[in-house]
């Protein structure tokens, strides 16, 4: 029954539609409007529920469009983890440092071996971007690494 991937997906979608519908019914009413803020969400929730039921009963694809090998999953997950780390450290360490580290580590993990070009490209790309944003365009990418810490010290005294 649940062998086909489409059916699994349709059940997830159905559950999502129900949660969305519940959230829609909880939206507060606004006394002045003719069509209130909850009208469209309710409609969309019902529509999604119907579509997911339709998907369930349609002659489904038995398999996903492509399958992943275990090692590939590992690579994807590690890149995911790296991006997550990048975001976490972005404002803390500042754009320059975080980006250079990220570029070096990611390229390395993806199997690029030429250290010289990794380092020169990472440095070049990051520094050029940084200077064109912060100085030419005056759009401020985070610059002071360990920023929060410094501010914290400066204002506690």
């Amino acid at each position: 029954m649940l062998k086909s991937i489409d059916r699994k997906v349709s059940i997830v979608l159905f559950v999502f539609a129900i949660i969305y519908l519940i959230a829609s019914y909880r939206l507060p009413a606004f006394s002045y409007s003719i069509v209130d803020a909850d009208a469209l969400p309710k409609g969309l929730g019902v529509l999604l529920a119907i579509l997911s039921v339709l998907l369930f009963f349609q002659s489904p694809h038995e398999k996903p469009a492509f399958k992943l090998k275990k090692e590939e999953v590992a690579i994807l997950l590690s890149v995911f983890g790296l991006i997550l780390g990048y975001i976490l450290l972005f404002e803390f360490l500042g754009f320059l440092l975080t980006t250079i580290i990220f570029l070096i580590v990611t390229s390395r993990i993806l199997g690029y071996t030429n250290w010289k070009s990794i380092i020169s490209v990472s440095l070049g790309f990051t520094v050029v971007l940084y200077f064109s944003f912060n100085y030419l365009l005056q759009i401020y990418l985070p610059q002071e690494y360990c920023h929060s810490r410094k501010e914290g010290l400066a204002w506690k005294h």
């Binding site: 070096i104 580590v105 993990i109 199997g111 410094k150 005294h157």
Partner: protein, 343 residues
């Protein structure tokens, strides 16, 4: 797939870089701190670039004010550090305010105007004007209520009579959310004229299509700012029923606009703009910025820009600004309670 050695190497590299960066910075942070202590406290001066937050996207009123003031300050060297304008758009200002509150310190300012009262009253921001330090009021603008040139209404009283008869027969459009500025300035005015404001029909056009809806005959009244109305009125495309200035204005076209008071409606509404800082800003720093703004507003560079934008000077010291805000807040709170929009 990847070999362990390179991974390990990368890891070590990262750790080394992070540690060295923080280590070196901690010491520089401390030295900066010492420098701060060394300075006389009653003569505070900025030590690094100042962040001027515009809690909205590029191009709006807050952004223009921030960029103009920062430009004039730098041109005239009143503040010799850079004033970097940073946009923090979102939530009608709420995102920018949250940022300033979190950041704190003496080197962050932001531009603000009546939404700092409306948005918290609407329940869309936990932070309100009391969570920040008023620095100085800078400019004032006024609201204008506009109808198309072929409208049956020729003055504010015509409109108010029609609204008294049937509030549902007239649609009012504004560029802001219900319960925010364009809406409440109109509500306030017609309430002073005796209209049952609970049944008003307000259409919110937040993509800025209010004027084109009015010119296209889709709505009856446009509640907007004076600047938006003036050029259209000069071209004869629209009629300005009333402006919310306390006194008639001087100037080529604007002198023809009647104030609410001139038409016997006891109401006024000032669209003020000014600067605020985080709650923990030192009084010395507040005094420094207050003086800098005052000085800036006397320069020719400022006067030229101000006239280009059609702004009116409205300087308020930090103290006056705070008192003004408290009073305005009370008025708006009562009004929104009455209309049933306060959350």
């Amino acid at each position: 797939m990847f070999n362990k050695r390179s991974l390990l190497f990368s890891l070590v590299l990262v750790i080394a870089l992070v540690l060295s960066a923080c280590g070196s910075n901690q010491s520089s942070g401390n030295s900066g701190n010492n420098g701060n202590d060394g300075q006389a406290t009653d003569d505070w001066k900025p030590e690094k670039p100042i962040e001027v937050i515009a809690p909205a996207g590029a191009g709006g009123g807050w952004d223009t004010t921030a960029r103009t003031v920062s430009k004039v300050m730098e041109q005239t060297n009143i503040i010799d550090k850079r004033l970097a304008v940073v946009n923090k758009p979102g939530g009608g200002g709420a995102v920018g305010w949250a940022y300033v509150d979190k950041k704190g310190g003496n080197h962050t300012l932001f531009v603000t105007s009546p939404p700092i009262l409306f948005v918290p009253l609407n329940g869309q921001s936990d932070l309100g004007h009391n969570d920040f330090t008023p620095i100085a009021g800078v400019i004032a603008d006024y609201a204008a209520f506009v109808v198309s040139a072929d409208s049956p209404y020729n003055n504010m009283n015509d409109l108010i009579e029609a609204l008294k008869e049937d509030p549902q027969s007239i649609s009012v459009v504004g560029d802001s959310a219900p319960g925010s500025m364009d809406h409440m300035q109109f509500v306030k005015a017609v309430k002073a004229g005796g209209v049952d404001v609970k049944r008003l029909k307000y259409v919110s056009a937040q993509d800025g299509s209010g004027m084109s809806m009015l010119l296209g005959g889709k709505v009856d009244v446009y509640s907007t700012g004076l600047a938006e109305a003036t050029e259209q009125a000069r071209a004869g495309k629209v009629k300005v029923l009333a402006i919310t200035a306390p006194e008639p204005l001087e100037g080529e076209t604007v002198s023809e606009f009647k104030t609410l008071k001139e038409q016997g409606i006891d109401d006024q509404f000032v669209v003020w703009r000014g600067f605020m800082g985080p709650k923990d800003m030192d009084p010395e720093a507040v005094a420094y910025y207050e003086n800098a703004i005052k000085e800036m507003m006397e320069t020719d560079e400022w006067k030229e820009q101000r006239d280009n934008f059609g702004w009116n000077d409205n300087y308020m010291s930090s103290e006056e600004f705070k008192k003004f805000l408290d009073e305005e807040y009370k008025t708006m709170e009562e009004l929104m309670n009455e209309v049933g929009l306060k959350k």
